[in-house]
C-alpha cells in the first residue's frame, strides 16, 4: 500500500510535465515522424513517398555530407573549450574577492546578447580582416585571416562566438560550486591538504553531477546550434558550406526550399545521432559521476 502511495506521489509531481508531453509535444513529434515519409511543401498537402527522403539523404545529397562534417567539427571543438573556459572562470570567480558580482556580470554580458540581431554586426567588428582580433594579432606580428569569410576559418569564428557566450555554463558551475559544503574544505585544511588536493578530492568529485549536466546539455545544444550560424552567415551557411551546421541546413531545406518532408527526415537522423552520444554519456556516467544521494 505504501508502495502505491509513493508511485502516486511520483506521478502527481510529474503530472504537469506528463500533460505537456501528451498534449503539447507527442503529437507534433509524431506528426514530424509521419512527415519524414512524405513530400510536404507546406503549401499543399503532404504526399506519402515511403523511404525516399531517407534514401536521398544517404545517396544523393552532396550538401548533407559537408553539413555533418562541419557540425561534428563545431561540436567536438566548441564543447570542450566552452566547458573548460566556463569551469576555469567559475572557480576563479568563486573566491571571496571584492567586486565578484561585477566581474560575474561582466563575463555574463556576452550571453545576454544571445541571438540578438545586433550580433551579426558586432561579430564582424571583432573577426573581420581588420577587426579587433586581427589588430591584436598584428601587435604580436601575426597577420590574421578574414575569420568570418574564409572557408578554412569561418567555423572557428562560430566556435569563438560559442565560447564567448560561455556565461550560462559558467553560472551553472558557480551554482554547483556553491553547493559543495564549506565544512569539507575546512576539514581538509585542518588535515593539511593543499589547493590541488582539495580540488581533486573535494571539488572535482562533488562537481561531477554538474559537469555531467553541462556536458550533456552543451552537447545536445551544440548539435542543434542554429541561430549563431544563421546570424553570422546571413542564413547561407557559407562560404562554401563552411558554416552550414546541421540545423541550419535543415531549416534551409524546410523553410527556404519548402521541403519540410525532407527536413523532418533530417531531424530524425539528428535525433538518432544525438541520442547515441547522450546514451553513451549516460552509460559512462556511472563510472565517474558521484551523487551525494548515494545512488548511481
Amino acid at each position: 500500500m505504501q508502495k502505491y502511495k509513493t508511485y502516486a506521489a511520483g506521478y502527481l509531481f510529474l503530472l504537469p510535465w506528463l500533460i505537456g508531453l501528451i498534449f503539447l509535444y507527442l503529437s507534433p513529434i509524431f506528426a514530424s515522424l509521419y512527415l519524414s515519409f512524405t513530400k510536404y511543401d507546406l503549401l499543399t498537402a503532404p504526399k506519402w513517398i515511403g523511404f525516399d527522403n531517407y534514401k536521398t539523404m544517404f545517396t544523393d545529397d552532396y550538401r548533407l555530407g559537408d553539413s555533418i562534417k562541419v557540425t561534428f567539427q563545431y561540436v567536438l571543438i566548441s564543447v570542450p573549450f566552452r566547458l573548460a573556459f566556463a569551469l576555469g572562470l567559475a572557480m576563479l570567480l568563486n573566491q571571496g574577492m571584492k567586486f565578484l558580482g561585477v566581474y560575474r556580470t561582466i563575463y555574463y554580458i556576452p550571453s545576454l546578447l544571445g541571438g540578438s540581431v545586433a550580433i551579426s554586426v558586432l561579430w564582424k567588428q571583432v573577426f573581420d580582416k581588420d577587426g579587433i582580433f586581427n589588430q591584436g594579432l598584428a601587435l604580436m606580428g601575426i597577420e590574421g585571416p578574414n575569420w568570418i569569410a574564409d572557408p578554412k576559418y569561418a567555423i572557428y569564428s562560430l566556435i569563438g562566438l560559442s565560447v564567448w557566450q560561455f556565461g550560462s555554463v559558467m553560472i551553472i558551475f558557480l551554482a554547483g560550486l556553491k553547493q559543495i559544503p564549506q565544512e569539507l574544505y575546512e576539514a581538509a585544511t585542518v588535515d593539511g591538504a593543499g589547493i590541488f588536493r582539495k580540488f581533486s578530492r573535494i571539488t572535482m568529485p562533488l562537481l561531477t553531477p554538474v559537469i555531467f549536466f553541462n556536458l550533456t546539455i552543451t552537447l545536445i545544444q551544440s548539435f542543434q546550434t542554429f541561430t549563431k550560424a544563421f546570424i553570422i552567415s546571413g542564413g547561407s551557411g557559407g562560404p562554401i558550406n563552411s558554416t552550414l551546421l546541421y540545423s541550419l541546413y535543415l531549416y534551409i531545406k524546410g523553410f527556404t526550399f519548402l521541403d519540410m518532408g525532407y527536413a523532418s527526415a533530417m531531424a530524425w537522423l539528428l535525433l538518432i545521432i544525438i541520442a547515441a552520444f547522450t546514451g553513451l554519456l549516460f552509460l559512462t556516467s556511472r563510472y565517474w559521476v558521484y551523487y551525494s544521494d548515494g545512488r548511481n
Binding site: 511520483g10 506521478y11 510535465w17 554580458i109 556553491k178 553531477p209 540545423s247
Partner: protein, 279 residues
C-alpha cells in the same frame, strides 16, 4: 609578504577586469554605435563618436506609428515573468519526482524527456502551430506561455542534478518527523536547491526574452509585439534599415536581463546548501 599578497590581489583584479573588458569590446561598439549619427555608424573606425547624438533612442522609442517601444518592453516583461513562474514551478516538481521518488517507468520517462529536446524545433513548429490554431490561440500569448507550465527538460535535468547533490538522509529524517512528500518538496528540497532554481529562473527569463522565432510565428498584432519583434520593425535586410534605432533599442533591451542577473547572481552564489544543512 604583505606586499606580495597585495600585489597578487591587484594583479588578480587587473587580469580579471582586463580580460572582461576585452571580451566586452563588441558591447562597447554597440553602445558607441547607438549614439553615432547614422552615416557614421558603418563608416567611421574608432569607438568614440565624433558627433554624439541621442536621436536613435528617441527615434526608436517614439518613432513608430500608433505605438511606443515601451509597450514592447511591458509585453516582454509580462511574458517573461509568467514564463519564469511556470517553468520554475513545473520543472522543479518534475525534477523532485525524478530525483527523489521511486516509481515505475521512471528511467524510460526520463529518457523520453531528454528525447524531446533532441528533435530540432523547426520540424515540430508547423504541427504545433496547426494545433494552436485549431485551439484559437494564435495571436495571443497562450502558445508562448502554456508550454512553460509543463516543465522544460533542460531545467528538469538541471534541478535533478542539484537535488541529487543533497544528502538523502535529510529525506529520511524528515519522514521520521512526519513530513509528507509535499512538505519535503516545498519546505526542504526547494530551499536547498535555491541556486538551481534561481539559475532556472534567470535562464528562463533570458531565453524567453530572446525567443524571436516563436514570438514571430505566434504574435501578429503589433500591440502584442515583444522586444525582439519590435527590433525587427526597424530592420529590413532587403531594403533600408534604421540601424541606429536597432542599436539603441538593442542596448535598452539588454538592461532588464542585466538588472535581473545582477540582483539574482547574489542568490545563486550564496552557498545556501551549507546554511540549510546546519539548520
Amino acid at each position: 609578504m604583505v606586499i606580495n599578497r597585495q600585489f597578487k590581489s591587484v594583479l588578480f583584479h587587473v587580469i580579471v577586469l582586463g580580460c572582461g573588458l576585452l571580451m566586452l569590446y563588441p558591447v562597447f561598439w554597440l553602445l558607441s554605435a547607438s549614439v553615432k549619427p547614422t552615416t557614421e555608424i558603418f563608416t567611421s573606425q574608432g569607438l568614440w563618436p565624433s558627433n554624439f547624438t541621442l536621436d536613435h533612442y528617441s527615434e526608436g522609442w517614439f518613432g513608430l506609428r500608433n505605438i511606443q517601444f515601451g509597450r514592447f518592453f511591458l509585453n516582454s516583461i509580462l511574458l517573461c515573468l509568467v514564463a519564469v513562474f511556470g517553468t520554475v514551478l513545473s520543472s522543479s516538481m518534475a525534477a523532485f519526482s525524478f530525483a527523489r521518488i521511486d516509481f515505475p517507468l521512471k528511467n524510460i520517462l526520463f529518457a523520453l524527456m531528454l528525447g524531446t529536446i533532441m528533435l530540432p524545433g523547426h520540424v515540430t513548429l508547423i504541427p504545433q502551430y496547426i494545433m494552436f490554431h485549431k485551439l484559437g490561440w494564435v495571436d495571443s500569448y497562450l502558445p508562448l506561455m502554456t508550454p512553460k507550465f509543463v516543465g522544460d527538460a533542460f531545467f528538469v535535468f538541471l534541478i535533478v542534478q542539484f537535488i541529487r547533490g543533497i544528502p538523502k538522509e535529510l529525506d529520511e529524517s524528515a519522514k521520521i518527523d512526519g513530513c509528507g512528500w509535499f512538505t519535503l518538496y516545498f519546505r526542504i528540497i526547494m530551499p536547498l536547491s535555491l541556486p538551481a532554481l534561481m539559475t532556472a529562473a534567470i535562464f528562463t527569463f533570458m531565453g524567453t526574452w530572446d525567443d524571436f522565432f516563436g514570438q514571430l510565428i505566434y504574435l501578429s498584432d503589433i500591440k502584442k509585439f515583444t522586444v525582439p519583434l519590435g527590433l525587427r520593425l526597424f530592420l529590413d535586410s532587403s531594403g533600408s534599415s534604421n540601424w541606429g534605432a536597432v542599436f539603441a533599442m538593442s542596448v535598452l533591451s539588454i538592461v532588464p536581463s542585466l538588472v535581473i542577473f545582477f540582483i539574482g547572481q547574489k542568490y545563486f552564489t550564496q552557498g545556501i546548501a551549507t546554511t540549510g544543512l546546519k539548520g
